[in-house]
Symmetry: C2
């Protein structure tokens, strides 16, 4: 960005060599800590580089070392409203990647917890340079994780984390805070003693468990008049979610509010509708899809916590690329803030639903 030398051009490796009366080969070796330079010259080079404000020309570098990188993106087909934009984010980031020949293979499997182990195994066997995926049930994947990590293939978790799996990093919404937000929003609305239910995907999924933790803790802290019913697990299945919701709503202890912590909220809403409880039971949903729009507009759904799948995908891919470009540089763990979608800011997100443009991840 700054410090051009006298003639106006930025200092290059050649300028350093000239200034020192040495050769560019030596400078290159010194700058990269390669062998074949004496400590003395190495120090001289480093100092001169500093002095001239040397910044490596990335364009020249990536032109020279023409890297080919193959990345596997392993994600379920369901829930499409979440994973499709996530894949889009990944694709966008891949397209924008500059200075390498990037190949992204998308490997699909039916849904979280069903077929993921096999799919990831399959990907690992193909010797990719990196793997992107959502760990649905970290326990069942533990053995696979060890094998992949052992092979030295970097894996990065997206949409849910798997601590201790050897993944180089993870990109997720802050799950605990998502749950906490849901509780806070409900506490604003429910002023009198009420029952609150939660429907989640699968408690074996780390982020689902975290959401629940946040929800329960915040409920206890901010709203002691709200009692939490036993959690319902839909196991990422639409039918199961529907059945369980019906059962929940017909029970003696019918909840006054429901927090759906998975993007799989459609069956739950259908059950509510069929029992004519939409609007009478407060609902906080997760993520956004077309069917949810009119419900928020009409106030039948109080809010939804948008997990920004496209942004997650993009950030994850960028992080993986950055890691592959330079394995020394550490990769940050990204914890996104979920967007609280209410009635009045809904239009902003709806326009994004349709515009599946290559752009924007804000």
């Amino acid at each position: 960005m700054r410090s051009a030398n006298k003639n106006g051009k930025a200092a290059g490796i050649r300028d350093i060599a000239n200034a020192l009366g040495t050769s560019i080969g030596t400078v290159d070796r010194a700058l990269h800590g390669r062998s074949g330079v004496s400590d003395r010259t190495k120090a001289r080079v480093l100092r001169m580089a500093e002095q001239l404000g040397y910044k490596p020309n990335i364009a020249a570098r990536s032109l020279k070392l023409n890297r080919k990188i193959r990345i596997a993106a392993v994600f379920p087909r369901e829930i499409a409203a979440f994973f499709d934009p996530l894949r889009r984010g990944i694709r966008n980031a891949a397209d924008e990647a500059v200075g390498m020949q990037l190949t992204v293979d998308f490997i699909d499997y039916p849904r979280l917890g069903s077929g993921d182990v096999a799919a990831i195994e399959r990907a690992a066997a193909k010797k990719y340079d990196g793997i992107l995926f959502t760990p649905g049930r970290p326990r069942e994947l533990a053995a696979t994780f060890r094998r992949i990590a052992g092979q030295g293939i970097p894996m990065l978790c997206v949409a849910s984390d798997a601590p201790g799996s050897g993944r180089i990093s993870s990109v997720t919404v802050d799950a605990y805070i998502s749950g906490a937000l849901a509780a806070e929003l409900l506490s604003h609305r429910l002023q009198t003693p009420s029952r609150v239910a939660t429907i989640t995907g699968d408690l074996a999924t780390f982020d689902h468990a975290e959401k629940l933790r946040g929800f329960a803790a915040t409920l206890a802290m901010l709203a002691s008049h709200l009692t939490l019913l036993p959690v319902v697990e839909s196991h990422e299945s639409a039918e199961e979610a529907y059945r369980q919701t019906i059962a929940l709503l017909k029970a003696r202890t019918r909840p006054d509010a429901i927090y759906i912590s998975t993007a799989n909220s459609l069956p739950v809403l259908r059950a509510l509708e069929e029992l004519k409880l939409l609007g009478r039971v407060q609902v906080i949903a997760t993520d956004l899809f077309p069917e949810l729009v009119p419900l928020i507009e009409s106030g039948k759904v109080l809010a939804t916590l948008y997990q920004r799948p496209e942004a997650q995908g993009k950030t994850a891919m960028e992080a993986l690329i950055a890691y592959l470009a330079d394995k020394n540089k550490p990769v940050r763990v990204h914890r996104f803030a979920p967007h609280i979608i209410l009635r009045s800011n809904l239009p902003l997100f709806v326009s994004r639903l349709s515009n599946e443009a290559k752009t924007s991840t804000s």
Copy 2:
């Protein structure tokens, strides 16, 4: 990303030339619509390029045409809590820019509406390749805009828009929706007939006017029991904001809630505190700074609408760079969704306040 030819490498300009039995010079001319190629060969080249799945190697290109770009970023010093991170976002984007020698000059002036015309004039005189700024009072800047646009210098508005100014694009929070959100959040809390006040920066600023429009419209639509008091303009001055708030709170028609639509909320909060009204008057603030944190934690401020200055700066800079790299490609107008910061998701943003790391703009 795909279509490597037989030997595994991606198709380059030389491959096209070989396949056609022509020279790379001709291919280059044809691909870029330069003169000196017959229509026939041009068509042949284009077809072969398509067929081989040719993708230009950006690294090689930017290595060859070693462009130097100078950009001016003209922003006020106040309100630092907003403009400092915005500048940081700009700097980050500049550092990440690859394939060009980028120089960013930060030009400061006291505050919006005071010194901005002169500062922008000064920048324009220096023949920058692009200008980034916040149009505080578009009216007063109109003449300057015309001159700059006439010189062909692209300008991009950040944090507030200036429609019809000739700017190539703008990056802002969706102001109307910010206002609407504030109204909706207040309507959740205030159930009985109440008075609501708004304190803004300067109604001459486009985005401030928009926020008010959104606020008023949503109040009318969702909460007819809330009456809106006449708007107060602080003119981006701390002292004026303080004085006006005191006056407002001592008036006969003391408001039950205040929407502070400018980041300049500190003086307002001070006034509230001194009159012991913090916690008794509902407050929705804008943006985040250290002093606001305990107030949100304790529930004395209901919410704040975070305008994500760093993300805005980064996106704006990226957009300008993209435009300068290819002036044909149109630049999107970016409308960010403000983050609603409540008690439970506050920690997520606080950590960003301290970590002034180079990373993250989510």
